[in-house]
Amino acid sequence: MTKKLIIVSFISLILLPLGLSLGYSFLYSIGSAGLLSSGLTLEYWVELFRGEFLRSILYSFWVAMASATVALVLALSFLFNLRRHFEKPGTYRLLFLPLTIPPIVVGFVIYQMYAGSGIISRVLYHTGLISGTQGFPALVQDPYGIGIILAHIFIVFPFFLLVLLNVYKNENLDEIERVALSMGAFRKTIIWKLHLPILMRGIFPLLILYIIFFMGAYEIPLLLGQSSPQMISVLILEKLQRFNLGDIPVAYSMAVWYALICIGTISYLLMKYRRKEAL
């Protein structure tokens, strides 16, 4: 009895809402539900692969890849060069600070720092390097998503570094390095052939997850993104809330595809990395 109750609770509280929402969105996206339902059609799905939606997908992918890659490279650089400093409790604890700021506040802070009228621009003005806001490069609401990428890096770089420091310690990489050095290996070889493969294996699932999270980011692109192209989540919401009712089924198609990609990726990662501690 208890067993059945638990399983029913799990299904009704976790799986059913998701299944129902996916089902409704799927039906809406193929023209079988909603106010403008006109019968079964794939035209809204085809719409995903052209124009605004395709640009949004590519833009989101660029921002997510750039954020994750830069954060990872930075975290690896800090790990290889400054690892000993993070053994001190004070410095180690410092890495937790950015994790205490909500994304919407990170977006706000990045805007106040990097906007044309932000702090950095003001400092440059007072040092005489620029003569006004027009002399400052567009770092927020810019075409390349630099502001969004900066905000993502601020959030995820310390997290990656914390994970890498843990992997480094758990895999006993100091000891491996000592043995390799005593066997005559060069430091470069140790980094490329020993450390990096082990560290990457540890962080790879998280890296993929964060790329997915960043692709679906909402608050930060809402504050720091430009009006076109937009990140997927921002575009989906805009299409749902604006006046053109014809865009609603396309927005639902995007939501369904995005959700399916998330579900597919997490399933693959969890089945493949079932014994890895990083996930």
């Binding site: 799990f10 800090f78 937790f96 706000f108 802070v109 003001r122």
Partner: protein, 256 residues
């Protein structure tokens, strides 16, 4: 030397956001290109404490939502994860708990909205809490899944052998050894709820004015001073939790 400089730069880049929020919350008429030559004021904080800016009500509402959601998610997640760990064999049960958690909350809200409208939850406090539970509950299930190992089973079996029923097994075997984890899960769920914006905005249609909603509202109203104040209020609980126990903020790996 260069290593110390790099560390100094890192320290600075982590501290500046906190300083900026506090600085702006005491500023007014901060027009370009002023850095420090603008007026400073206590009026934003006074408006917070007097309740005239609506931020005090927002903060109280946010605390209420986060406490309720995290309490419900932690207690339900604890028992549901027990059931999943003990009574299911397929790994897919656990994998499926990740599904709502990995989808962007705002996209989940978009897909759920139809049903929330149908049952009258849209734009209500209970709707926002129910929506947040859809993310925090799977998180709690995933969090506790790894806890139900053979040792805990042996303890429960011991209680059962001595005539204990389900409640006694929980009271004497499971709960005492899970106290620490329950607290960590509670605060992590609290933070998920506390940080949430997109889902709260979409399901609450702006009527449920949590602090994150207020930050965005003040930004769109070109009032960076009150936005900074709301931001400062948002970072207070996580900072306190960080100093109490950093496990509340960061967990080494997901429970699998």
């Amino acid at each position: 030397m260069s290593k110390k400089l790099t560390l100094g730069f890192l320290w600075l880049s982590f501290i500046i956001p906190f300083g900026l929020l506090i600085y702006l919350s005491f500023s007014t008429q901060w027009y370009y290109p002023s850095l420090t030559s603008h007026p400073f004021t206590l009026s934003h904080w006074e408006s917070f404490f007097s309740g005239s800016s609506g931020l005090f009500k927002s903060a109280a509402l946010s605390v209420f939502i986060s406490l309720t959601v995290s309490f419900l998610a932690t207690t339900s997640g604890f028992f549901i994860s027990r059931g999943i760990a003990y009574h299911t064999k397929s790994r897919w049960w656990l994998v499926s708990a990740y599904f709502p958690y990995v989808i962007a909350p705002v996209v989940l809200a978009v897909m759920l909205n139809y049903y929330f409208l149908q049952i009258g939850f849209s734009g209500t406090l209970i709707g926002v809490m129910a929506a947040q539970l859809l993310i925090t509950l799977p998180y709690a299930v995933i969090f506790f899944y790894g806890y139900w190992n053979q040792n805990i089973r042996n303890l429960e079996n011991l209680v059962a052998t001595m005539g204990g029923d389900f409640m006694q097994k929980v009271k004497h075997a499971s709960l005492p050894s899970a106290k620490g984890l329950l607290v960590i899960c509670f605060f992590q769920c609290y933070l998920i709820s506390w940080f949430e914006y997109g889902l709260t905005q979409f399901i609450g249609i702006g009527k449920v004015e949590t602090l994150t909603i207020m930050v965005y509202r003040f930004v769109t109203e070109s009032n960076p001073y009150l936005a900074a104040l709301a931001g400062t209020l948002l970072i207070v609980p996580p900072i306190v939790l960080l100093f109490v126990n950093r496990k509340f903020i960061f967990q080494k790996g997901w429970s699998l």
